[in-house]
C-alpha cells in the first residue's frame, strides 16, 4: 500500500490544503509520498519534508509544471502511478482540474471530494450540494481521490525529515500554455483555510459598500472575506470570494454571514463551520436556521458597531 499525494502550492509556499489532504491520506493508511510538481519549488519540497510519517518527497521541476496545467501534470502523475495504489489531491481548482485526467488515463473512476475516510476503499462524499451524503466503495485496482479539505484537520509540518528526491518531468504534451494569472492580491488569510470568515451578501447593495462595511470588520478579526453568489453575480465581490456549492466550501471556526439570506447553494458551502453568526434585517431569513447566534439588525448599523467594539 502506497499513496501519492499531489501537493498544492504556489512554487513558494506549501498550501494548508496539502496538510489537510495528508490527514485524509493517513486515515487511508500506507506509505505516503508527496509529489511537488512545479518550477523553482525546492522550498516547497523542503517544507513538505517536515511532515511526520511521510516516506519521501518527490520534486519534479520543469517550465511546463510551473502552473501545474492539467496535461503535463497529469502525464507526470500517470508516469509515477505504477508504484502507488492511491493517488490523492486536495479538491482545489488545480486538484479538480488534474486528477480526473489522471483517473481517465489510468481507467479508474475517481472518488471526488471525500469528506470522510471510512476504510481504505470506502469514503463518504456529499452529493446534491451537500443535501445528501453518499458512502461509496471504490472497486478499481487503483484509487484516485480528491479531498474536500474542510472535512480534515491540517497535519502539523514539524518533526519530520522525509528525504527529497528530485525526479525528471515527463515531456510536455504541449497542448496548452499559460498566459497569465489575475489573482486577487490580499494580505488577508486564504478563504479555504481561514480560522474566521466574514461574508457579505446582496444586501450590501454595491461593491463600494461591500468594501466599506465588510472589510474593516474582517481586518479587525484577521479574517478572510467571503461572499454569496448573489453578491458576486451583482459584481460586489470578486468570483474567488464566493462561498457555496459552486464556489468554495469552507469550515472555519467562526463564520459571520452579513446580509446573506441563506440560499441552499450558499449553505452548502459553509454549514460545516464550527460557529455560525448571522446578521440580517429579515428575521425570517433561512440563514437563521443554521446560525448559532443570530442578530436581527441592519448590517449598515450593526457592522460598524461591531468593528468599533472589537
Amino acid at each position: 500500500m502506497a499513496i501519492l499525494l499531489f501537493a498544492e502550492h504556489d512554487n513558494a509556499a506549501l498550501s494548508d490544503q496539502t496538510a489537510r489532504t495528508l490527514t485524509a491520506a493517513r486515515r487511508i493508511g500506507g506509505e505516503i509520498d508527496i509529489l511537488v510538481a512545479g518550477k523553482g519549488a525546492a522550498a516547497v519540497a523542503q517544507a513538505a519534508s517536515a511532515f511526520q510519517g511521510v516516506r519521501k518527497i518527490l520534486l519534479a521541476e520543469a517550465d511546463a509544471l510551473e502552473h501545474r496545467l492539467a496535461e503535463p501534470a497529469a502525464a507526470l502523475i500517470v508516469s509515477l502511478a505504477g508504484d502507488y495504489d492511491t493517488v490523492i489531491a486536495p479538491a482545489t481548482t488545480t486538484g479538480k482540474n488534474v486528477l480526473p485526467r489522471v483517473a481517465a488515463l489510468l481507467d479508474v473512476m475517481q472518488v471526488s471530494e471525500i469528506v470522510e475516510v471510512v476504510s481504505a476503499d470506502t469514503f463518504k462524499r456529499p452529493i446534491y450540494a451537500g443535501n445528501a451524503i453518499q458512502t461509496v466503495q471504490a472497486t478499481d485496482g487503483k484509487k484516485v481521490i480528491t479531498v474536500r479539505t474542510s472535512g480534515f484537520e491540517a497535519a502539523q509540518a514539524e518533526g519530520g525529515s522525509a528525504p527529497v528526491e528530485t525526479i525528471g518531468a515527463t515531456a510536455d504534451p504541449r497542448l496548452s500554455g499559460f498566459v497569465e494569472n489575475r489573482l486577487s492580491e490580499s494580505e488577508r488569510p486564504e478563504l479555504a483555510s481561514a480560522r474566521i470568515i466574514v461574508s457579505g451578501g446582496r444586501a450590501l447593495g454595491s461593491e463600494e459598500r461591500f468594501r466599506q462595511v465588510i472589510l474593516p470588520v474582517a481586518d479587525k478579526l484577521g479574517a478572510a472575506v467571503g461572499a454569496s453568489r448573489a453578491a458576486v453575480d451583482a459584481g460586489y465581490a470578486p468570483n474567488d470570494w464566493q462561498v457555496g456549492q459552486t464556489g468554495k466550501v469552507v469550515a472555519p471556526e467562526l463564520y459571520v454571514a452579513c446580509g446573506i439570506s441563506g440560499a441552499i447553494q450558499h449553505l452548502a458551502g459553509m454549514k460545516d463551520s464550527k460557529v455560525i453568526v448571522a446578521i440580517n434585517k429579515d428575521e425570517d431569513a433561512p440563514i437563521f436556521q443554521v446560525a448559532d447566534y443570530g442578530l436581527v439588525a441592519d448590517i449598515f448599523d450593526a457592522l460598524p458597531e461591531l468593528e468599533r467594539a472589537l
Partner: protein
C-alpha cells in the same frame, strides 16, 4: 467547425431533494427534472459561437433515460442543430460517460466540446477532464470567457486565487463555469421548430462501451443537520457570547 455539447438531465436546481428513508438513494419520483444548469451555459456558449460565425453546427448529446429527449429538445429549442440520445436506464458514472462521449467525438469530429463543469446531482466534476484525457486533447476547465483565435482558444478560468488565462490548441475541451454567460430562454416558435430537428437514438452497445459502475454506492444518508441557535439582541451581547460561550474570540 462543429461543436459538441453533452447535456445531462438532472433534478431541477430549485428542488429540495429528499433522501429515501431506507438509505438506498435520493427519491426521484415525481420530482421536476431539468437540464443541468452548467450544461445550459455550455449550450449557450456553443450557440453564440455559431451566431458569431465561428461554428457551423452545434450537436448536443445526452446519456440518460428516454425522458432525456426533453432535455435535448430544450437544447434544440435554444438553437442547437441536432441531437443524439444514448439511452441508458441506470445512472452512468463520469468515466463511462466520457468513454461514450469519446466514441461520439470520434464519429462526429468536432473541433470543440463544451461541457458544464459539473452536474448538480452527483457533483463529480470529472467528465470534461476525463473526455479530454481519453481523446488526448487539451483541456480548459472552469471557463468564464472563451475566445477562439485560429487553431487556438484563449480561455479565462476561474481558479482559487482569482482568474487564470490559458491558451489551448484545438481540438479542445472547455468546461463552463457559472459566469461564462447567461443562457437564453427558448422562444415558443423555437420550441415548436425544435420538435422537427433531428434526434438520433443510440445505445452504449452501438459504441461498444461498457457502462458498468466502478463505484459501489453502499448508502445514501441525510447530512448532519444544524439546529438553529439563539437570537441575540445587540452587538454587545453577540460579542459576549462569542467570547465567553463559544470561545471563538479571544479578546
Amino acid at each position: 467547425m462543429k461543436v459538441l455539447v453533452p447535456v445531462k438531465r438532472v433534478v431541477d436546481f430549485n428542488v429540495k431533494i429528499r433522501v429515501k428513508a431506507d438509505g438506498t438513494g435520493v427519491d426521484l419520483s415525481n420530482v421536476k427534472m431539468s437540464m443541468n444548469p452548467f450544461d445550459e451555459i455550455a449550450v449557450e456558449e456553443a450557440i453564440r459561437l455559431k451566431e458569431a460565425g465561428k461554428a457551423e453546427e452545434v450537436v448536443v448529446v445526452s446519456i440518460g433515460p428516454a425522458q432525456a429527449q426533453e432535455t435535448l429538445r430544450t437544447a434544440l429549442a435554444m438553437g442547437a442543430d441536432r441531437a443524439i440520445l444514448i439511452k441508458v436506464e441506470d445512472m452512468v458514472e463520469p468515466l463511462a460517460v466520457a468513454k461514450l462521449l469519446k466514441a461520439v467525438a470520434d464519429a462526429e469530429g468536432p473541433r470543440l466540446v463544451v461541457l458544464g463543469k459539473q452536474a448538480i446531482d452527483d457533483d463529480a466534476n470529472q467528465t470534461g477532464q476525463m473526455l479530454s484525457a481519453l481523446l488526448g486533447w487539451s483541456q480548459a476547465t472552469f471557463a468564464s470567457a472563451v475566445a477562439l483565435e485560429g487553431d487556438k482558444a484563449r480561455v479565462t478560468r476561474e481558479v482559487d486565487g482569482g482568474l487564470q488565462v490559458i491558451e489551448v490548441a484545438l481540438p479542445a475541451i472547455v468546461t463552463a463555469d457559472l459566469r461564462l454567460n447567461e443562457p437564453r430562454y427558448a422562444s415558443l416558435p423555437n420550441i415548436m421548430k425544435a420538435k422537427k430537428k433531428p434526434l438520433e437514438e443510440k445505445t452504449p452497445a452501438d459504441y461498444g462501451v461498457n457502462v458498468d459502475a466502478r463505484l459501489k454506492v453502499l448508502k445514501t444518508e441525510e447530512p448532519g443537520t444544524r439546529k438553529a441557535g439563539v437570537k441575540v439582541a445587540s452587538v454587545a451581547e453577540l460579542l459576549d457570547k462569542l467570547k465567553n460561550e463559544a470561545g471563538v474570540l479571544q479578546f
